[in-house]
Amino acid sequence: MSKNISILIVDDEESVRDSLYNWFIEDGYRVECAGNAKEALSIIESREFDIVLADIKMPGMDGLEMHRRIKAQNKETIVIVMTAFASVDTAVQALKDGAYDYITKPFDPDDLSHLVRNAAKQITLKAENEALRNKMNELENVEDIVGKSEGMLKVLKEVKSVAQSNSSVIISGESGTGKELIARAIHFNSPRRYFPLVSVHCGALTESLLESELFGHEKGAFTGAMYNRKGRFEMADGGTIFLDEIATISAKTQVELLRVLESKSFIRVGGNKEISSDFRVICATNKDLKKMVENGTFREDLFYRLNVVNINIPPLRERVEDIPMLMNHFIIKYCTAMSRDMVTIEPAALKRLEEFEFPGNVRELENMIERAIVIGNGKEIRLADLPMGKDIIYSSVESLDDLEKKYILQILNKYDWNITRSAKALKVDRVTLYNKIKKYDLSTGKS
């Protein structure tokens, strides 16, 4: 530990400087000396020191004034003042000015070692703490948001400026553009980052289930409510609640949501006690909420409550320049996850990807890359490894459902409607495949 700690000794007495120099060198610290405050300040201007050990009484500028100047230059530097017994009052003044500690000359060897060791430990812990904090922030912030296109840079700029505020945010964008990632980035760059980020996928729940999920319920509130349960708003206290697919919530839930947003309090289903929670709301939708307001399917007052800031994520086809970077990101992600060597991409395959419309946006690209790594030769992604390298014809006007339907049909035909083999090729279970066949009303075409 001591090898990385630098100490500057400032004392006008040569014998004191030499003794201290020798003492700390033997302990493995990096040590330099200065004979007066002026010399010390000029050394500090060119190099940073972790600890400055300074005598208080020196000719010219005294140790106290030097200490103030060092602190003005770098608040992090630990200053320990050395004093003769007679000037303890001055040392106390130094402590009031922010010195780490003082030590009276001559020192007990143990006191000196302890003092400097503790200071060194504090420096190391502080550095570790900062590194861990940075790591934590890095992990959760924006590493998965890949892109240098103008559109994405604008989004990231908006994320940065909105993160510090407490305002509600609506993130809009087509399916697969990464709305949840943006929500996470806002949360983990905000002052609320040390509190929970609670996500609710509104589209996946029925009205009554969503109500119970959001507000919680009391024991016996409905059949199956065997215990008291906290709602998502309660869980998000201090943090952020992310409501995905907000456009899907019913008119009744819209009213309740509006009330909660205005009062920041609610009552659990089946309960009678009002519960307060301090949360920030971030919503996401792939629908045009404004149009829904015009149509009367989404409450105008709720829309304006939520739409304080709107971040629109451009679809992938509008930021083609991000495709190579995204592709590399997914190659690293999946090759690492599958413990495989990194693969490259054939120029023809890359060209095809750049020309492709990606109706499923980044999610579709991600799936394509994952699939290509699984079925590929382990060295490079070839055109043949990409689904559009084969017979599937995509059109930008087709919906994701249409594309899914076509792809499933193609696989079924390929395996002569053998459900097990087709499901295996599609990487879904047989029940899912049956459900899809039913959903898209697919048939063999044979009578």
């Binding site: 001591s2 007495e13 014998s15 004191v16 030499d18 003794s19 201290l20 020798n22 003492w23 060198i25 033997e26 302990d27 493995g28 050395m82 000359k105 001559p106 020192f107 007990d108 060897p109 143990d110 000196l112 070692s113």
Partner: protein
Amino acid sequence: MDKHNIILIAHGQFESGFLSEIAEEVALEYNCSVAVQESQLDLMNFYEPTRRQYDGYKLLKEIDGMNIAGYTKKIGLFRVDLFIPILTYIFGQAFFKGNSGIASLYRLKNEQYGMKPDQDLLFHRFRKVIIHEIGHTFGLIHCHVPNCVMRSSTYVEDIDQKRHHLCCNCRSIIAVNEE
């Protein structure tokens, strides 16, 4: 390390055989020849009446300035209470990666702590201090291995805790420094 010759320069009276035994131990530890020589230095020049102690830093410089041909490292041995300006006392000190060091047995004696004299214990302590200071001249810093002789010692109890040998790590550092 056999290219080094160490001389222990004794100031004051030591028991007969005491220093030659230590010289043998030092020679074994550092694998080099170690000689003992008596010196008649006037220690009053180094006495600090206000502290009633002897200035270790001045003594170290005095030893360093001695011109003794044929020896690469010189260690002054004393029986008096040593201090340096910043510390209340020292057992010894040396120039880091230098050629000189000093050690005193004054604070190593049991009598200083109200205990019965113990000549054997004194021998072991003094031997460790000398080997420790020579280690600094070879460029060794304080070691964190609990029983390594290079572990920092503030009190005699600390000296008693460690062995008089260098740990493997310190040994390898010397080997690298000497290459």
